[in-house]
Symmetry: D2
């Protein structure tokens, strides 16, 4: 931690900070410039970071040197984590395609989508049974019936599936059905839910909060890791900005940034970030080119009738075309398309 004193800080203010650092067993390195005095604090990260330095007299600001997360960082583990999902690898040099409907609406809709994405080459199925919606008047999902249908589709097509959890009381239920449990963007900072998922064994997909910084996202992953579950898959899905042409702004740079800071796999969701079917193909190809670990794509047999997010779903035939282009780009860059 670097503690920058204000221009009018007294010698007593500096001494007071130094003393407090010593009390918690840390060293204080004091540098006096012409305009500002700066104190470098070296010692136990957690102890130092938790003191409210900016509440001390004469302190202008405190700048952390170390990241607040530890286990999910490259400093802690230098090699890539590869998560095994029913035999399908996610992470490392692999690129994995997850596809299916946004929400499970019916057996027919789910199986139609699952058959198509399976045939075109997707390896993991998506489909939600519980949907968090901004309006209380919108469709909220089929509940457990949706999970049963997903489990049936898994057997039928031999694809593991990912589904979202929205209530900590449903974690056990989800864990009994799904291969990957997803935390949606609105729940990324729902620490209760994070901790609950950390205390069970199924892989967790942690979507980035659409208003979360990369550091907050990695802190959220740390919550899960710290509780004991190390099978964590990150998924970038766009952030909120002032631009209104797209639902959110896909932060494509976050992929290399996260891969540099963390050993966890990171996927891209080109459907929810853009919110428009016409953006899915270009953003998916960008996700390959930028060397993410995969994409998760909404595919619906009839987007016009979709109960959730129809505007961003692509048709099965467009998904098949896109898979061809994904294959070509992956081959060109030596990426292992799973």
């Amino acid at each position: 931690m670097i503690i920058v004193m204000s221009g009018d800080a007294t010698a007593g203010d500096v001494a007071h900070v130094v003393e407090r650092l010593r009390e918690i067993g840390a060293e204080a390195h004091v540098s006096r410039g012409q305009v500002r005095t700066v104190i470098g604090a070296v010692g136990d990260r957690a102890l130092i970071q938790q003191l409210p330095w900016e509440a001390f007299p004469g302190v202008e600001r405190a700048v952390p040197v170390l990241k607040p997360y530890k286990f999910v960082s490259r400093d802690f583990q230098s090699h890539d984590t590869v998560v095994d999902v029913g035999g399908v690898p996610i992470g490392g040099d692999h690129f994995t395609v997850i596809a299916g409907p946004c929400a499970v609406e019916s057996r027919e809709q789910l199986f139609s989508s699952a058959a198509a994405v399976h045939k075109a080459g997707a390896r993991v199925l998506r489909g939600d049974a519980f949907k968090p919606r901004t309006s209380p008047y919108s469709f909220q999902g089929l509940g457990e019936r949706g999970l049963e249908l997903l489990a049936e589709a898994r057997t039928e097509f031999g694809m593991p599936f990912v589904a979202e959890v929205v209530d900590p009381r449903d974690v056990e239920l989800l864990a009994s059905y799904a291969d990957i449990i997803r935390i949606g963007t609105r729940n990324m900072a729902n620490f209760t839910l994070l901790a609950e998922l950390g205390r069970q064994d199924k892989p967790v997909m942690l979507k980035r909060g659409f208003t979360a910084t990369v550091e907050e996202w990695l802190n959220a992953a740390e919550y899960i890791y710290k509780e004991g579950n190390h099978h964590i898959i990150l998924c970038e899905r766009g952030i909120r900005t002032f631009e209104s042409q797209t639902r959110n702004t896909l932060d494509i740079s976050a992929v290399p940034v996260v891969r540099h800071l963390s050993h966890l796999p990171v996927l891209v969701d080109p459907s929810h970030s853009g919110g428009r079917s016409t953006l899915v193909a270009p953003l998916s190809l960008a996700a390959v080119a930028v060397r993410s670990n995969g994409v998760m794509i909404d595919v619906h047999p009839s987007p016009e009738t979709a109960l959730v997010d129809g505007a961003q779903a692509i048709l099965p035939r467009d998904f098949a075309d896109l898979m061809g282009e994904i294959r070509a780009v992956a081959a060109a860059l030596g990426v292992d398309l799973v």
Copy 2:
């Protein structure tokens, strides 16, 4: 709903939209301009808003005319809601001061703060027993012991109290102790928690998500209202922007905007928005001047030792000075300081 067709939409595309509107019992008013055709849809709001119009061929975009929320709007109830909190009114022409420590750390700390804010004129006590923290390594609150201490302080000083809930499984516990249950900024879009709070009777304080639009905030209030609980208090606490001098940017304009759109009371939290003790007084006075319904202020007997958010806490003596200024501005504007 206004459905704007794209420049290359065919007559068939227009007919298809019109037909779908008629199927759901809505009228379609078609206006043909030189460059664009526009279809006005009049009928059941919920039915019309839920169809994925932008997935229809030839549709450029769909612009809702009506707000997605209903019960919390001025259209539904034109007079102000005034929430009664143990005899203290919040809403209407009243301005109510809530103060106390951010988190309950100990009996001594809580009582010291409570005694001071009570003496200076605060009418409701704040203090949290459960804290959602971005880092898993930070202090997470005293749990039920914290609620017991708050209840003791209520008896001692005759002030009702507000405390945060972070887990839907704790709603009953909170309801058995607190006078107002608070939903924090990170849980504003935790629909599970919102629905749970809607199904009990205690007043709910709903903080604005720091990345939520005013419309999303009112939608969140609608979740609570719709489940049956109409005692809702909104609290503006700053939004995330690119500015880094303050923790968040207090959206002071949201106060008159919300008071225009909704009948619910709206408070301001000058402590968490700015994140600095020196900003608390000017932002509190701005909250009076802009005619919000009150402020909620962090007061700590020794900010340097605070386990949570010490940098923004003000001292008891500064709170007393501020109360004097709040009184003066309220009197100047004819605001009823409770």
Copy 3:
């Protein structure tokens, strides 16, 4: 400057940074923690800040300790700057009201507005002759004819006036007419224009770029100051955020932040920030309460017919009412309403 080395930086990388610092005459204070080495650089601010430290091998990031601006900071001048505008003071403990039409449209419109704001108590007139517009098809102002009318109104009502400049080639023209030359929000980072205004004598009002941080805003002021013109008035006018209920989000916290960092006066523009007439009164009162140095308000005799920004203009009679409330709040807080 604090230079944080990455986790895998070598001893050679550290030595290389230290050597480069010595070459430019700076001291290097090296602190070695368990996970990171940090180098504090003490010496000539400009020299140190200009080297691209993050391009050096093994450097993770460089954190400036000192602000990049100097003359406009409180470190350089601790007392408030008070700018004299034709006998009207702006800055210090004064609160000054500027009002008038957004753009000069005709003699009749200008004089009607000027007469009304003068009678109600405004001390400086606003009105623009050159308007930068996002669409090339919008009204761009009357040009020099507008300035002539403003000069006439000055004589008639005894009020100095402020007008915007958009082209560096017009600075001389503006300086020959106006009492304050304004740099609009879109030109805050137009360094050519800033430098030009720094080389003449008339006071300059520098509006905050709606996407500028406080630090960038003060850097822009530094450009003007450094060229020799010290009569600078800052004006907060809202920043771009994700919220769409208001045109921009008034960053009311920026007022106390800037007054802490700088000695320059800072005003608030409640008209352009909110973009709605109904927000002008509450935001103006907030501007008094937060202890800014004044407000600049759009007043139009007939907003429906305004050629620019009609939706935010208030009527003369509403301005008169507002002046009464401004007087009351100023008196309550001991602010000197000029």
Copy 4:
């Protein structure tokens, strides 16, 4: 234009809007719903869009149906514009690589960079002689001497070059040297400069303002087009968001969005958006995959010594490697790498 009346608008308010529309020769289509009345205005776009509808009594808001820009839209010209730059095509199905130093610092630095990028396959040279800097204490460029060096390099390597203009008084000078004149991100809304560039013949590269929406960016292009210069190249370079791991957030989705809305070519600047050398390769490849029309990359022989933006410059050998990958992805997708 769609004019939405408020819930309490009177019949007189509706009649007043309808009357005003008729006065300007527009048709008014009135739709009365249960809660709101909506008026569709059909007629001359410019006339309708310029009236301040939200200042009319009883009007809640006005929603434009048509874009404010015209000539740069696909509605006006359906085929792609291809700009010829000294024999090098930019636009359509072509992908063009522009590279070179951020700023011209010396003959040696420029020629070293130019030789390397030319050899590796870049077709256009970049290098600036005038730099707009946020701090007045930073290097501002070599001025005309820089342009002379660039012209020499053009002759030596047979590559046209692009250079930035920051002052409307320098447009003629730039036009006499450069093959493409660039408007930087901070000047995107400098309408004076835009108009000046529209009145000369050299191709213009218009960088997106880092705080501009896509619509504002296209409006800025319209300024240039309307004055007579149709050789416009757009360049996406990241927008300001809350994320601080990167200098700006590259809005990769803006590429397909702009190509859908406009016929103009759109490039990507992976250097200035990320602000870090390690992000240049992944973002460049994403730019190919997303089917932009090219990239503009900072290459410096010795980033540590760069006077401007050294942290983002890549070395000549890394540029050569990147060109190999760009070629592979372009080939995989059938993109014509120029």
